[in-house]
């Protein structure tokens, strides 16, 4: 008769085992039953720990390697697309005068952005690997972009032939540009922006479910682990009473090993939950907000050019500029003049809302405060330029100066702001990448380590009771 006759598991295992243990009269039978219970508890610890580790792994995969990076990819796509239209507007506005960095440079940037956008879209599967609706969206962006480029090409060609001074182009060119920019603003850009939001939703929902699943898993490991320890200690006591030996060393080893495994698992799950939280709170949330802020900033900056380019729509462009500015940095203001004033007053005290407001209230990382300051100062510079441009543009005499300012100083100041925004994002991006890497590193080896530890403990339990059982042969 050997101890290994105990079956590893049966469907209603634990209750059946307990019931049997109660009815078993012989000493070896009872020892066997308790040992069986212990092995069962080891299997249970293995199962709940394995599930929790899998939850952590799934969370890290979606947030760190899937939807998370797609937020960055779609954000870059939006920026490239939006900047194409901004450059096109700039070229048409400056006419034959080489204002700012000049016509050739603007066209060069336009081409760069176009190839960036195409590259991102042709790898559309990277933007949305598993979602057919999102892939359909990526394809329809590509189609609309084709039509946009055609209209833009016609507008550019005609505008060059007509050679005009800085200011709104001919009506024909204006109509072509109107069609092109409508296509971009009403069709292409919303789709790209919504892709970013979709991925943000995926990350948020994955985080909510996986973070709490990991913590729930940790509680289960504690609970089932406690049961395992009680059974092992109970077995130890039972043997000590009936065989008058103080300690069964092998069983003691199994108990210590179990304690170590439970503690290590609880520690791992605690740190995995914290890596997920850091990746989300310090990294991802800010990366998403800031990439939305960058997208909207670029588009608002283009609205400033369009305001000068399409005078018949100037009122609308001014209103959407204010709307977008308030989305980026909200201070209560019914019009732009009040907005500039409020901005100057509230910037130092950081009493404002919007994307930058949320970031200003959540400073946790080294270097973040300085980068945030640069971003805010950059933004203030951009708004000061905007005020000067609009006040110049209201008089016929000032229009040329407004256009020159837009193309030169305002364009440089916007780049300064944009670069500051990019550096601020990079700080959060690094926090995100670090937390995900730490999470991945923490999990490495657990695929093998966890089952190996469970087997070792089970074998130790069996090896511990075997000599006692053999005394009954």
């Amino acid at each position: 008769m050997t101890i290994t006759a105990a079956p590893p598991s049966r469907p209603p295992a634990r209750r059946g085992g307990v019931a049997r243990a109660i009815r078993i009269r012989s000493l070896p039978g009872r020892i066997r039953a308790i040992a069986f219970l212990a092995v069962l508890a080891v299997a249970a610890v293995f199962a709940v720990a394995g599930l929790a580790v899998q939850d952590a792994r799934d969370g890290l995969r979606v947030i760190g390697h899937d939807a998370g990076p797609q937020v960055v990819a779609t954000g870059d796509l939006y920026f490239a697309l939006s900047d194409m239209d901004a450059q096109l507007a700039a070229v048409l506005l400056m006419g034959r005068e080489n204002l700012g960095a000049g016509r050739a440079r603007a066209l060069q940037v336009y081409d760069q952005r176009r190839s960036q956008a195409h590259r991102a879209l042709l790898q559309g599967s990277n933007l949305a690997p598993d979602d057919p609706a999102e892939q359909q969206t990526a394809r329809s962006i590509l189609d609309a972009l084709g039509r946009y480029e055609q209209l833009a090409g016609q507008a550019l060609q005609l505008d060059q032939r007509q050679s005009h001074a800085a200011g709104p182009p001919s009506q024909e060119v204006g109509t072509l540009y109107g069609q092109a920019t409508d296509l971009m603003k009403l069709d292409v850009l919303p789709k790209a922006y919504n892709l970013t939001l979709d991925n943000g939703t995926t990350v948020r929902r994955t985080y909510e479910s996986k973070h709490s699943a990991v913590l729930a898993g940790r509680a289960w490991v504690l609970l089932v682990g406690a049961v395992l320890l009680i059974v092992l200690i109970g077995l130890q006591v039972y043997l000590a009473v009936h065989f008058r030996r103080l300690v069964n060393p092998v069983l003691a080893l199994a108990t210590v090993a179990s304690l170590v495994l439970i503690a290590a698992t609880v520690g791992l799950l605690t740190s995995e939950a914290s890596h997920l939280r850091k990746a989300k709170d310090d990294g991802f949330d800010s990366v998403l907000s800031l990439s939305r802020a960058r997208a909207i900033s670029n588009n608002a900056n283009a609205d400033e050019t369009r305001y000068l380019l399409q005078p018949s729509l100037a009122d609308t462009y001014e209103q959407v500029y204010l709307d977008k500015s308030q989305e980026i940095l909200y201070v209560p203001a019914g019009n732009l003049a009040i907005y500039y004033k409020q901005l100057d007053q509230r910037l130092a005290g950081r009493s404002f809302m919007g994307f930058l407001g949320v970031e200003a209230q959540h400073v946790t990382l080294p270097g973040q405060n300085a980068a945030l300051d640069r971003t805010l100062r950059g933004y203030q510079g951009v708004q000061r330029d905007d005020g000067r441009i609009r006040s110049l543009a209201t008089s016929v005499a000032g229009r040329h100066a407004a256009i020159a300012l837009r193309m030169d100083t305002a364009s440089r100041d916007f780049s300064t702001y944009d670069q500051a925004l990019v550096s601020l994002t990079a700080i959060h991006q690094k926090a995100f990448t670090d937390a995900i890497r730490a999470g991945d590193d923490g999990l490495s080896g657990w695929n093998v380590g966890l089952p190996a530890a469970a087997i070792v403990i089970a074998v130790l339990v069996l090896a511990g009771v075997r000599p006692r059982l053999s005394e009954f042969r």
Binding site: A133, Q136, L186, D187, L189, P190, K191, Y193, N194, L197, G200, T201, R204, R205, E208, S212, L215, A216, R218, A219, W220, L222, L223, V224, A226, V227, L229, I230, R292, S312, L313, D315, T316, E318, Q319, V320, L322, D323, Q326, E327, Y330, P332, G334, N335, M353, G354
Partner: protein
């Protein structure tokens, strides 16, 4: 089993965290109370039999039926412009879909799914009044100001045009006063004006000088991020399956307005 009790306590604690505060999401409800306008022809209008009709009403029906995983029944409730934020915040309505423009001000009080459409503010005047060619010509003229609407502010505050405001509770009152010469202009969203213009035939005309983008959002409680995301998904499918285009054509196809049938850029939830 004190350790067991500890484990169970931990489990309860964790489960408590998992639900995330903020009250019930519309995602879990079977019936949604949706606030719509009762006096805006083409958008939301209460008919004599008590039922509602209009573009916003059809959008509401579609969205309720297409919220992910769980189609919902709809109960419509007439809402006035001025009470929309408070009704959403108090939970008396689950959603507001009534030509409800997303503005930074309002976003401090409620969240917005969508926009499901971007309208443009324009001006409606009497057919005989040819002096008004754009928004600046409203200076010194009598402009309708509906309580709780932001439209007149776009003229007098944002554009700084010194119009005399005539305060009334609804756009229906604006129209009555416009035609009986108690005021000179109504400046608001083209979709709202289109519905009224259709009623009055040749008595009124569009100035055709848009001054803004009005992003029509779905008002929802700020805490209900999941519900807001679900509504956005439903709006995306409304455009992908062609329903949005059909509804726009059904309600505004004959008005001569330029209609956009591609999905708008969403505001984002939370």
């Amino acid at each position: 089993m004190r350790l067991g009790a500890l484990g169970a306590a931990l489990l309860v604690g964790v489960a408590g965290c998992g639900t995330g505060g903020g009250g019930e999401s519309i995602a879990t409800k079977d019936t949604l109370v949706i606030g719509v306008a009762k006096d805006q022809p083409g958008l939301g209008l209460r008919k004599p039999d008590g039922t509602f009709a209009g573009f916003d009403v059809d959008v509401a029906r579609y969205l309720a039926a297409h919220v992910e995983n769980k189609p919902k029944k709809v109960v419509f409730k007439a809402v006035q412009s001025a009470e929309r934020e408070s009704l959403v915040r108090s939970g008396k309505v689950d959603l507001v879909i009534s030509s409800y423009s997303i503005t930074p001000e309002r976003k401090t009080k409620v969240a917005f799914a969508g926009p499901y459409y971007v309208a443009h503010q324009d001006t409606l005047v009497r057919q005989s009044d040819t002096a008004i060619k754009n928004v600046r010509d409203l200076s010194g003229r009598r402009l309708c100001a509906v309580t709780g609407s932001v439209s007149w502010q776009r003229v007098t505050v944002e554009r700084n045009v010194r119009a005399q405001l005539v305060r009334v509770p609804t756009y229906g009152d604006c129209l009555t006063k416009l035609t009986d010469n108690s005021l000179d202009a109504i400046s608001t969203d083209d979709l709202i004006l289109a519905g009224f213009a259709a009623q009055k035939g040749r008595a009124v005309r569009f100035v055709n000088a848009p001054i803004s983008d009005e992003r029509y959002g779905v008002g929802i409680k700020q805490s209900d991020v999941t519900g807001c995301e679900d509504v956005n998904k439903a709006i995306t499918s409304m455009y992908l399956d062609g329903t949005a285009g059909k509804l726009l054509t059904r309600w505004f196809g004959t008005t001569g307005l330029h209609l956009t049938t591609t999905v708008p850029q969403f505001e984002g939830c939370g």
